[in-house]
């Protein structure tokens, strides 16, 4: 596989960029693998990449029913941050953050990770107390964070209405300078290319219709295109469809699938060079490199698989955005879409063994999975390679809903909960 570099770009320019290699193979699956990953989204591809590269398990297949990175990886608002309250989640998201910081070099693929900082606004006294608590918790965990007052916030984002005239005046914010955004598609493609380079078979347009389970142990999967494919271990990373797949394996997960919407505006000149989020008025925005404003709404309250949401939810978010940024009031919106997010009762993911031996699930990321992509893949790969959960994944067991060790991240999980 060819290495990408500035020199390569120059070299290919002489042949009008017509001789670039295909980025990954399109293989026919073998009869048996050491590990099968069900689901070729960001987390699944990252898992395959780290399995092959770092843990030496190269006899791996990723089976995807559509195309790679075509689900929520392609639909999110690309924010990366690690300012979570509780130790367990802070460690996990910070682990991901550290991987993000070297990811483009590691993958030899530009994921356009831009650490432009993230503000989480506070509009009430209670917001400010929560922010202070969270920032202090972050700093104890070695995560950068500062509490800012309204004046400092206004210095960072001059277009934000920090006057006392807003319906919910900005009182301050938490500020994580290392947070930022990344190019979502490039993350999926970079991990896919890296995995393929290390020998992983990426099997697209093939749906896993069932698991093959003998005596309580998974031994493979049934697919619609290639029949049965055997495996020693199976990792299921299928986001919104996890509950459906769990039912196939004969157990239940405490997940609910909800529509989550986002929208982008027409491209405008650079005006917002950081990420601004507000839980209280329920909206968040950043500006992409193309110039469009990327705006995220909250989840719709009802269960839905329709990949579209309700108009009132969008209207509510736009009201909040216009209230925070009066200058955006005449910007026209270009596109609006919805994804299906698998939310957990405690707003934390499930990275876990299951009642079926050798079958592992990584799901329940809800509204905030993108930021964890490399970390999630890394700890899940470590767990699959050893057959025992990685210490960072251990607290996120699906059995916590029976033993009571929940990790309540509804505050730090952000806008959408």
């Amino acid at each position: 596989m060819q290495h990408y570099s500035g020199f390569g770009l120059l070299k290919h320019s002489f042949s009008h960029h017509e001789n670039w290699q295909r980025v990954w193979r399109n293989p026919t699956p073998k009869k048996k693998y050491d590990v099968i990953i069900v689901g070729g989204g960001g987390h699944g591809l990252a898992t395959a990449y780290y399995l092959a590269k770092q843990f030496g398990v190269t006899n791996v297949a990723v089976i995807e029913k559509g195309f790679l990175g075509g689900g929520n990886t392609a639909r999110n608002t690309t924010i990366v941050r690690s300012n979570y309250l509780w130790d367990e989640s802070a460690h996990l998201y910070e682990h991901a953050m550290k991987l993000w910081e070297g990811l483009s070099q590691d993958l030899n693929y530009n994921v356009m990770f831009s650490q432009r900082g993230c503000l989480n606004l506070g509009h009430t006294l209670q917001d400010m107390r929560d922010i202070e608590r969270r920032v202090n918790a972050n700093r104890l965990n070695g995560i950068d964070g500062e509490v800012l007052d309204a004046k400092q916030v206004n210095e960072i984002v001059p277009i934000l209405d920090c006057s006392g005239n807003a319906r919910y005046p900005v009182m301050g914010a938490s500020w994580q300078p290392r947070a930022g955004v990344a190019r979502h598609d490039a993350v999926a493609w970079g991990f896919a290319r890296g995995a393929d380079m290390h020998g992983v078979d990426l099997i697209q347009q093939t749906e896993v219709v069932d698991f093959i389970i003998e005596d309580g142990t998974v031994t493979g999967v049934k697919t619609d295109r290639y029949g049965d494919i055997m495996a020693d271990k199976v990792g299921c990373v299928v986001a919104g469809h996890s509950g459906y797949m769990a039912a196939k394996a004969g157990f239940e997960l405490p997940l609910e699938s909800h529509p989550l919407q986002a929208l982008v505006s027409e491209p405008i000149k650079p005006i917002l060079d950081t990420v601004v989020m507000s839980n209280h008025v329920h909206g968040y925005a950043s500006q992409s490199d193309k110039g469009d404003l990327v705006i995220g709404a909250g989840i719709d309250s009802y269960v839905g698989y329709g990949q579209r949401g309700s108009y009132p939810t969008i209207e509510h978010t736009i009201q909040a955005i216009v209230e925070m940024f009066p200058i955006f009031s005449r910007v026209r919106m270009n596109r609006q879409w919805g994804g299906i997010v698998d939310t957990c009762p405690d707003a934390c993911p499930i990275i876990s063994k299951t009642p079926v031996k050798n079958l592992f699930f990584n799901c329940g990321w809800g509204t905030g999975g993108f930021k964890a992509t490399p970390g999630s893949g890394h700890v899940f790969a470590a767990s699959l390679a050893k057959g025992e959960m990685h210490e960072m994944a251990e607290p996120f067991s699906m059995f916590r809903f029976h033993n009571g060790a929940l990790i309540d991240e509804h505050g730090a999980a952000g806008v959408a909960h």
Binding site: S257, G304, Y305, P345, H402
Partner: protein, 94 residues
């Protein structure tokens, strides 16, 4: 955008007047103290998440403020029936 019939007001109203309250027909264990951890966890946290018909509670928050049940398809979002609290659904999954 849902257009929901409130069985108490006897009128169709827009979605904005309502709030979804999650799965309907959840029974609180009669004797919580004798529940195992598993039974209690299932009652607290495990909800039906079907791709298909779903029975759920809605509240007419900006209207009569009463709770009622709805059977809705979670892919097409079509509302199949609306029925009062204490009643059983007529449209059920096969």
């Amino acid at each position: 955008m849902f257009y929901i019939y409130c069985p108490y007001c006897g009128e169709h109203r827009e979605e904005e007047e309502f709030h979804n309250q999650g799965q309907a027909h959840i029974e609180r264990p009669a004797d919580p103290d004798s529940c195992s951890d598993e039974e209690w966890g299932n009652y607290m946290f495990f909800r039906k998440n079907p791709r298909g018909l779903h029975h759920e509670i809605w509240v007419h928050a900006a209207g009569c403020r009463k709770f009622f049940n709805v059977t809705r398809h979670t892919v097409t979002y079509e509302i199949k029936e609306v029925y009062k609290m204490g009643e059983q659904p007529k449209v059920v999954a096969e």
